[in-house]
Every structure is written in structure tokens, then in C-alpha cells.
Symmetry: C2
Subunit: 385 residues, 2 copies
Amino acid sequence: MDHLQQEFSVRFSYPIFFTSDLFATTNSLFADFFNKSAGAVRRKLLFIVDSGVVEAHPQLLDSIRTYVAQHVAALDLIDDVLVLPGGEIAKNSPDAVETIVDAIDRYGVDRHSFVVGIGGGSILDMVGYAAAISHRGIRHVRIPTTVLSQNDSGVGVKNGVNYRGKKNFLGTFVPPVAVFNDSTFLTTLDDRDWRAGTAEAIKVALIKDRAFFDWLDTNATALAQRDLPAMQYLIHRCADLHLKHIAGGDPFEMGSSRPLDFGHWSAHKLEQLTDFELRHGEAVAIGIALDTLYSQQLGWLSEADADRVLNLMRTLGFSLYQPMLDANDSADVLKGLAEFREHLGGQLTIMLLTGLGTGVEVHEMDDSRIRQAIAQLKRTESQPA
Amino acid sequence: MDHLQQEFSVRFSYPIFFTSDLFATTNSLFADFFNKSAGAVRRKLLFIVDSGVVEAHPQLLDSIRTYVAQHVAALDLIDDVLVLPGGEIAKNSPDAVETIVDAIDRYGVDRHSFVVGIGGGSILDMVGYAAAISHRGIRHVRIPTTVLSQNDSGVGVKNGVNYRGKKNFLGTFVPPVAVFNDSTFLTTLDDRDWRAGTAEAIKVALIKDRAFFDWLDTNATALAQRDLPAMQYLIHRCADLHLKHIAGGDPFEMGSSRPLDFGHWSAHKLEQLTDFELRHGEAVAIGIALDTLYSQQLGWLSEADADRVLNLMRTLGFSLYQPMLDANDSADVLKGLAEFREHLGGQLTIMLLTGLGTGVEVHEMDDSRIRQAIAQLKRTESQPA
């Protein structure tokens, strides 16, 4: 039968900058980016800032206003900087997206203007989504403020909000036009957030990069003691691996593979089962421990290697057991496997380890082996090392 | 300063099929597409159908159920076919998108299942948007039922809904995975919809393809008399030109140019000023007439060529004058120029003609010349030819 075939490619390109004191009047990085892209027509800048970041950095909004007025004269700052609550819970309500879309409408922010999000992963997810659906996509800039968002979610191409409690049910794949990783924001993180973000670095090292794992192992104590240069290296290396994975694979996940989700099937479920008391990175650390022990039980990973993984996470301060793991004889957490299958579109694909730095995909997991791994975690975590 | 640069391309590919009686049990086209892409895991099919189409084709829902059961055994039809009102007005309410997203959630439609929209441009816009934002993009299939959607919007990459009365304020660029143009649906269109869709064909011929304009001129009477093979040729040729324009240019409109919007700055405004009593294609015909006369006034187009354009549209049955054109001394319609500038992101780009089949972009239009063109339209339309 007669048909036409449409074929085209769309090229995406964006820089990820690493800096400190982004809005110091001596730092030209942010201004250079915008002044370079300024044209004859005046563009607008709409800022949305995480309320937790404003609390930790009370001078931030003034600094932004002063900086833009002095250095980014080609753009018009919308004086009404939106300050919105961050965190996973905020993604459950449609309010934030509605507030941002409403501001885009009221202030006449067009497709060639910029929406700038400052905050953790949740704020960036909400800002990215609101920008993506307004005018079929307004340019958005991310300024991630947590370890997790600087090394992982903030440099990627996804956005999303929850719908009826379902995580990221609404969202799109739309890259930012630029990411600014400012290490100054890391200094005010609480210890839990500082630590939690390292879980994604451990994850990507374990499935892709043995040398990075060895570096993490060597520097675990420094990281636990909040050594900033060590954390900056971790973030840079992890972001680089994450970016290469996206560019080298299936950026908009049109296929079924999600290799970067190592340790995540149980992590997503544990977050939910603990009403998000467990933060994402903390849950991922437990998920990594579980799938590491599972890999060991299959005979794919030596006991010594599995111990190194678990001990690294303990040195960083992670707790690797959570009572919800065996609530209801583990039936609750095992539901996470079914939900992960559904999320992937019917076929389960799980990453396991055949060595430190080597991930391999499988399409099934055995419930009784999972229960054994949980029992092992419970045993080792309840005893002093 | 230290930075990483992310770079990748995403390839999009989809077929546009031309057929008749798509759901006749003897037509394997639809089944072949889905059976080819079926894998080990069972996918679902969620249909959303324009209520106007169901009225004109009361047997359609039964035909779909019978067809899928008989021929697309690899997929599970969701029995609850959603029937929703179409038309531009429907895009003003968030209800349809909410209904579709809710069904995607309730019936567990995953990213590798399919959402199929059947109807005019508005239904397809709403279905495409709901699919695009659910699970970060569920595969969607378009079955356009009007001339306009079969030759223009339905084969493209945009979706959208209105927000606070602003046309397509919310939307994304996401291509369908397949388009099925079924000529049977054209036979039940009322005369206005049959005619209105030809305006986009005249538009694309005028700016890109002299031979196609000559064909339209030669076949205007046949088209006006509802000759189906002539209309099928028009749709195929117009869709092909539209697809090539998208693939050869800037598919997701990251730049500022919108060359396919010839005649549209006033058309969008006239639709709104008439409370959408004027259909999109009817408004586009007036917009084409206006910008053709404007091109003539600039000395870019001969009077004979301008007359051919206007006479072609008259033969097709279009009315080329609408009283709103000079309401409030034309100040109302001229606002459309400012709104078009804002929609494009600050710099105005308007397509005009330097010949039949040759468009050229300009960045300003003169109000008094526009008023002269309006006066000329009013004069010629109020006199018998």
C-alpha cells in the first residue's frame, strides 16, 4: 500500500559547567553564557528557587538580582523570583507546575527566553516539566544544589511530577540548554543529603568503571568527612559517566533498557514503603547492597568483592538494612519488582554485577534468592563489623 | 572554566499510510503495522475517538472491536473506547487530557503500548499531548479524519491544548509512531470541512511548489464538486510537502523561522475574533488572500497572479472577506501581528510571495498597506465577479 516515510534527526547539545560562587560578581561564567546567546531581541529570565536553598543561603535572591543587573544586561530578569518547596513530596501536588506555568503566561516568557531552576532534583524535575510543556518548550537552565542532582538527575534529560502518588507519571524527555554545578551549595547540605548523593556514583562505578570504584574505595573516609575537593571530583566523574551513557545509548529511552537503574527496583519501592522518610540515595544504597549480594549468590561476584561494596557504603555512613525489607515476609518489597516491570513496559530488565565495574542485564530475579540476600543484609547490619 | 559538553542526536521515523476503509476486515494495513512491531510482551491499544466521527460512522466502534479481535491478536484492545468531543472549543478545557491520562493510568497503558486517536486536528492534538506527557511519552498513532488533519496537522510533530484561551499554550513536539490517512472518513465531512482543509494545500503550494499550484488551479472545480480522487491527490501531495519541510528544516522549531505559517498571523486572530465560528481553514483562506494582496502592493506579485490566487479560492467556495477584518478600524485584526511576534519569541517573521510557488520571509509589515489590502478584499468580495 502507498505510504510516505518521515525520517529526521534532532541534535541536542548543552554544556555542564563546574564552578563555585556562581552569583559572585567576580564570576563571569553565568553572564558569559547568556550574553553569548543574546540577540537583537530582549529575552527574559524567570528564576524558580527551592525554598530550602533560600533558607540555607538567605542572600541568594539579592545576589541573583544584583548579578543579573550588573552582568546580564542583555536579558530582563523577572523580578518575581518564585520560591517553591522542594523534596519528593512537593512533586505529588500539581500546584508547583501550575504556579510556574501561570508565571510563564503572566510575564510573557516566550520560547527563546529562559526558565532557570535552582534546587534539588525535585525542584529541577518540576521546573523542567513546566518549561517543557509551555509554548511547546521554553529553554530551561538547571542549577542543581545537591550531590544527587549535580552528579545524576540534574545533568540528564528527564523531568517529571507525580500523579496520584505515582512517581514521575507525568513528564517528558527534554534536555536543558545548560547546567551550572556550583559546589558552594554543597557546603550547606545536611550530612544525609551529602551522603545520599554518593550512592549514584557508587552505582555507576560498579556497572561501568572499576577505576572509579577503586577511587571511591580509597577516598571513602575523606568523603565521609566532607572533603569538598574529593566530592567535586566524585561529582565531575559521575556526571561525565552519566552523560556518556545517555549520549551513547538511547537518550529518550525508546527501547526497553534502563542499565543505569542498577539497584533501583527495590530502592523505588523502599522510598514509597517508608513514605519517603528514606531519601532516594539512601534507598539506592540499600538497593545496591541487595543486588550485590544477589549477584554474589549467583556466583557472579566473589565474597571479597561483595564485601568491598558493602564496606565502602558503610564507611560512607549508609545504613544497609531497613525493616521494610522484610515487612510482610518481604512481599511488599518484592512488589517493587512487578512495578519495575510495568514501568519498563512489560519486560523486566535488571542490571546485576559480574565484577566490580561490570554490569550485566538479566530478565528475571528469583524471589527466594532475594529473600536470602535480605536475610544476609539483616544479619550483617545488626552485628558490629 | 572547566566544563563538560553533552551532544547527541535522536532519530525519529514514522510512516504515513494512505488507505480507505481502514477497519474493513479485508484491509490488513493496520494489523500489519501492529503485528510487525509486536514482541514477546503483550501491548495494549487505547482508542480515543472524536464524537463527531462516531455520529457520522455509527458502526465504527464495533468495526474497531471486531477488527482488533480478528487481526491484531498480539495486542489487547482496551474495551473502554473513549469518545470525546472534538473541535477547537474542546481544547480550551483540561477535561479531555485529564480523561485520557486517567485512562492511561487506570488501564495500565505503558510506554510500549499504543494510544490511538481518531478524529480531526483538535482530538489528535489533545490525544498527542496526553500521550506525550504520560510516562514521559507513550507511543501514539494518528488516524486523522478531516482534510485539514490528513494533509497538515495530523502528519506533523506537534500537539497541544489551549490554556486560559491561549491557543496551544501547553504542548510538546513529539512525533507519532504512525499515521493512517483513511479517505473513507472524508466522504462524510460537511462541505465546510471538506473545503477548509484545502486552504493549507493552497498555502504550501504558493510558498513552495508552482506545479502543485497549477494543479490546484486546474482541478478547483472538481475539488469543489467533491471529487474524491482529486482530494486524495491533494492530500498526498500536501502531506508530502509538509513532511519534507519538517524533515529538511527545524523539526522542533528551536530557531525562530515558521515559514509554513503563510497567511496565519491574521487567520489565528480572525478565528479568535469570530469565537471560532470561522474554521481554521476558512480563516487561513482569508489570511492567504490578505498576504497575497499585500505582496502585490509591494510590487512583488503581478495583479494577474494575485487574481489567480483569489479566484482559485473563490472557485473552491471560500469567502475571502469577514467583517471582523475592519472591526474597530482594523485595530483588532492588527493585534494579531503583535501576538504572532510574541508567539515567535520577539522577532516577527512573516512569509510573503514573490511569485506563485515562491515564498520569502520579511520581518515587518506596514499597517496602512494591510488596511489597503483589507479594503481591496472588501471591495472585490462585495461585487459579483
